[in-house]
C-alpha cells in the first residue's frame, strides 16, 4: 500500500477533442494536403464558389440598404463552411441548414435569387427546383436549432430503408445551447444514425459572445456526452473543413454513425442588416478576425502554390460581380404571388371550412401584396 491510500475513485472515461487545420491564416500550408487539394483545379473551384458567394452576399446587403430587400442575414466570413459542405455532400444526401449556409445551398441547386426572394418575404423561395440535389433539402430554420432533432427522423428513414444517404444538420454556436441540439446529439447514437451535426461557431449569437454561451471549452465536446465523436476544424480553412466533412460523411455512409463537427469561424458582418454590432463588439476584434478571412487565406495559399495569378483574380472578380448583378435582376423579375396563395399550400386539400376566407381574399379590393 502506498503512502497515499488508493482512492475509491477511478477514471471511467477520458476524452480529447482534435482540431484540424491545413492552411494557416497567412496561407501557409502546415501539413501535407488531402488528395483533393493537390489538384489546383479543385482549389480554384472552391475559391470561385467562395468569391461568388461573397459577391452575392454583398449584393443582398446592398439591396437591403437601398430598400429593395427585407432584413438579411449575411454569411460574410463564413463562406468556407458552406462551400465545403456543398462539395462534400452527395446529391441524394439531405441538407437541413441554418441561415448563413448559402454557399452549400447554391452548390446544391438553390438559385441565389431564391435566397433574395426569401428575405424579401416570398414562400416560393423555399420551393427548391426539381432535378437538383436541393430538391430534398430543408429550407433553413429561423427558430434557432429547432430543425436539428428533425434530422434524427430523416436519418432514421435512411437507415430504415438501408439507403446510403446522410443527413447534415447545420447550426450556429448559439443553437448548441438549446435542448433541441442536446436531444438530437444525445439520441443519434441510439440508432447509430447517418447524421452529421455541423456547428458554424462564428463566435457571436447576435450580441452574446461564445464565452457567455457556455462554460464548455469547445462546442465539439458536446458530442462526447452523446457517445459520438466530436471534433473541431478551422472553419476558415476550406481545405480542412471539406476534408473533415468528407471524412464524417463517408463514415456515416459506411454505417459508422453520427458525428459532431465544430467549424470555428467568425461573423464578419452584423447579425443581420437590422443589427449594429458596434453596440457590443470591439472594432479591434473585428479587424483581427479579418486577418483570418477564408477567401484571403485560400488566395494566399494558391498564390504560393503557383496556381492563382493577379489576372485570374481580376477575371473572377468581374465574373462574380456580373453573377451577383444577374441574380439581382432575376430577383427583380419575380412577380408577387396571388393573394390566395396564403391558403393554397396550407393543406393538401383546402378544408371546406376555409373556403369562405379564401373567397374573401380573392374578392378583396386593392392588391395586398408588396414587391
Amino acid at each position: 500500500m502506498s503512502e497515499t491510500s488508493p482512492s475509491a475513485e477511478t477514471t471511467v472515461a477520458a476524452f480529447d477533442v482534435r482540431m484540424t487545420r491545413f492552411v494557416d491564416a497567412a496561407g501557409t500550408v502546415l501539413a501535407p494536403l488531402p488528395a483533393f487539394a493537390q489538384d489546383p483545379e479543385e482549389l480554384r473551384r472552391m475559391y470561385r464558389v467562395m468569391v461568388e458567394t461573397r459577391a452575392i452576399d454583398r449584393k443582398a446587403v446592398a439591396l437591403q440598404r437601398t430598400g429593395q430587400l427585407g432584413t438579411y442575414a449575411s454569411c460574410l466570413g463564413q463562406e468556407a463552411i458552406g462551400t465545403a459542405t456543398g462539395i462534400a455532400m452527395h446529391a441524394d444526401d439531405v441538407l437541413i441548414p441554418a441561415y448563413r449556409d448559402y454557399a452549400a445551398q447554391f452548390l446544391r441547386g438553390v438559385p441565389a435569387e431564391s435566397t433574395f426572394l426569401y428575405w424579401a418575404g416570398d414562400e416560393r423561395s423555399m420551393h427548391f427546383p426539381e432535378g437538383t440535389p436541393s430538391r430534398h433539402d430543408f429550407p433553413f430554420s429561423v427558430p434557432i436549432g429547432t430543425h436539428i432533432p428533425q434530422a434524427i427522423g430523416v436519418a432514421y428513414a435512411f437507415r430504415l430503408r438501408k439507403q446510403p444517404r446522410v443527413a447534415v444538420a447545420a447550426c450556429g454556436d448559439g443553437a448548441t445551447s438549446r435542448g433541441d441540439f442536446y436531444e438530437a446529439v444525445s439520441s443519434a447514437k441510439v440508432w447509430n444514425l447517418p447524421v452529421v451535426f455541423l456547428i458554424s461557431n462564428n463566435q457571436w449569437a447576435i450580441s452574446l459572445p461564445r464565452a457567455r454561451q457556455t462554460g464548455a471549452q469547445t462546442l465539439a465536446q458536446k458530442a462526447i456526452a452523446g457517445g459520438i465523436p466530436g471534433e473541431q476544424v478551422d472553419g476558415n480553412d476550406v481545405i480542412a473543413t471539406r476534408h473533415v466533412l468528407e471524412r464524417a460523411l463517408a463514415a456515416a455512409r459506411a454505417g459508422e454513425g453520427p458525428r459532431v463537427i465544430e467549424a470555428v469561424t467568425y461573423r464578419l458582418h452584423d447579425h443581420t442588416t437590422a443589427d449594429d454590432a458596434r453596440r457590443y463588439r470591439a472594432e479591434d476584434e473585428l479587424e483581427d478576425a479579418w486577418t483570418r478571412c477564408p477567401i484571403k487565406r485560400l488566395r494566399a495559399c494558391m498564390a504560393t502554390l503557383g496556381c492563382w495569378s493577379v489576372a485570374d483574380e481580376e477575371e473572377l472578380e468581374a465574373q462574380a460581380a456580373a453573377r451577383a448583378e444577374a441574380v439581382a435582376q432575376a430577383y427583380f423579375a419575380v412577380q408577387p404571388e396571388m393573394p390566395q396563395a396564403i391558403f393554397d399550400s396550407l393543406y393538401a386539400t383546402l378544408p371546406t371550412a376555409l373556403g369562405a376566407q379564401r373567397a374573401e381574399v380573392m374578392t378583396a379590393p386593392a392588391p395586398q401584396t408588396e414587391h
Partner: protein
C-alpha cells in the same frame, strides 16, 4: 366484429394500418415491450419489430421533431405522447415546423404525421396528466385536430388520420379509454376527418360536444329525455377543421344549443362554435347559446378535479336554464 373499448380500438387501428402500409411506424415513450402506459401499442413490437415500433428516449420535443423528420421522407409516423401535459414541449415543433412545412415550401415538403395523446382528466392521475389541450392545437393553421368519443370513431378516425397527407393531432378521451365497449369491425375503412356526427336526433335543443365530454353529454340527454326534453346530440369529432354546417343545420331545426367542453372556457372550441352560431344562426335561435365547460383555472389535482370537470348535473342544469329562457312548445 368484436366488442372493443377505445384503447383496444386504437390498438386495432394501429395494428391494422401497420399491416396495410409498411410506411406506418409508431414512436413514443414506453410503447415497445411495455405496450404504452395505457396499452395502446400492445403487441405491435412483436408483430412489427423494433425498427417500426420505436421506444423513444425521454424527450417529447425530440419525439415530435423525429416524427416530422420521418414524415418528410414519406413515412407515416404515429407518435404517442404519454400524457396530455407532456404535449407542451411539442408545441414548438408542431406550430413552427409540422404545421408550416407544406405552406412554406409551397407543397414541396409535407408532414403526414399523427401525434396521439390521452386528453383530459377524470382518472385521478398525478399533476400535469389531466390537461385538455385541444384549444392550443385548434388555433394552429395547417393542422387537423381530432377528438374521438367512442371506439368505432377512434378506430375509423385514427385510420383516416394516419392516411391524411397533413399533420393530425389525435386527442383521445383518457377517462373513456375503458369506460364502455362497442362493436368495431376491422374493416380498414376510415371515417371522414372533417365531419361532425349527429349521434342522436332530437327536436328541442342541440347538445354539442366531443371527446370524453360526449359521454357525460349522452348521459345528460338520457336524463333529460326522462323529463320529456328531446335533445339532438352532435359529436364534433373534428375540432379543426370544424364542421359548422352540421351544427348549424341542427340548431336551425332546434333553435337552442348548449355546448359542452372539458377544456377551460375562455377562447376554447365552444366559444368558436358559439361565435359561428351567432354569426350564421342567430335568427334561428330562441335563446342565447350556452356553454358548459371546465373553469378558467389550473387543472386541479385529483381531490378537486370533479369540481372542475363538467358532469351530467352541470349539463342538465344549464339545459334547464336554457329552457327557462326559451320554453319548449
Amino acid at each position: 366484429m368484436a366488442d372493443l373499448n377505445i384503447i383496444e380500438a386504437v390498438n386495432l387501428a394501429l395494428k391494422s394500418e401497420m399491416a396495410r402500409d409498411e410506411n406506418v411506424l409508431v414512436l413514443g415513450e414506453d410503447i415497445g415491450r411495455n405496450g404504452g402506459v395505457f396499452r395502446a401499442t400492445v403487441g405491435l413490437l412483436d408483430a412489427y419489430g423494433p425498427e417500426r415500433v420505436i421506444d423513444m428516449p425521454l424527450a417529447e420535443n425530440l419525439i415530435a421533431a423525429m416524427a416530422i423528420g420521418l414524415s418528410t421522407q414519406g413515412l407515416r409516423p404515429v407518435a404517442e405522447i404519454q400524457f396530455s401535459g407532456f404535449l407542451y414541449p411539442c408545441l414548438d415543433q408542431i406550430a413552427n415546423h409540422a404545421a408550416r412545412y407544406r405552406n412554406r415550401t409551397r407543397g414541396r415538403i409535407t408532414c403526414p404525421l399523427v401525434i396521439r395523446a390521452p386528453n383530459g382528466g377524470g382518472i385521478h392521475a398525478p399533476e400535469h396528466h389531466s390537461e385538455s389541450m385541444e384549444t392550443f392545437f385548434a388555433h394552429m393553421p395547417g393542422l387537423r385536430v381530432i377528438a374521438p368519443s367512442n371506439p368505432a370513431r377512434a378506430y375509423g378516425l385514427l385510420l383516416a388520420a394516419i392516411r391524411d397527407p397533413d399533420p393530425v393531432i389525435f386527442l383521445e378521451p383518457t377517462r373513456c379509454y375503458r369506460l364502455f365497449k362497442q362493436a368495431v369491425e376491422d374493416s380498414g375503412e376510415a371515417l371522414p376527418l372533417d365531419t361532425a356526427f349527429v349521434e342522436r336526433e332530437g327536436t328541442h335543443l342541440t347538445l354539442v360536444s366531443w371527446g370524453a365530454m360526449m359521454h357525460e353529454t349522452r348521459l345528460a340527454a338520457d336524463a333529460l329525455a326522462q323529463e320529456g326534453v328531446s335533445c339532438e346530440l352532435i359529436d364534433v369529432a373534428s375540432l379543426k377543421p370544424l364542421d359548422m354546417d352540421t351544427i348549424l343545420a341542427s340548431v336551425t331545426k332546434t333553435g337552442r344549443c348548449v355546448i359542452v367542453q372539458e377544456a377551460p372556457r375562455a377562447y376554447g372550441p365552444a366559444s368558436e362554435i358559439a361565435a359561428n352560431l351567432a354569426e350564421h344562426g342567430l335568427l334561428s335561435l330562441f335563446a342565447p347559446v350556452l356553454r358548459v365547460s371546465g373553469y378558467d383555472t389550473v387543472m386541479p389535482l385529483a381531490r378537486l378535479e370533479k369540481v372542475y370537470l363538467p358532469d351530467v348535473r352541470r349539463i342538465v342544469a344549464e339545459v334547464r336554464k336554457l329552457l327557462e329562457l326559451a320554453p319548449v312548445g
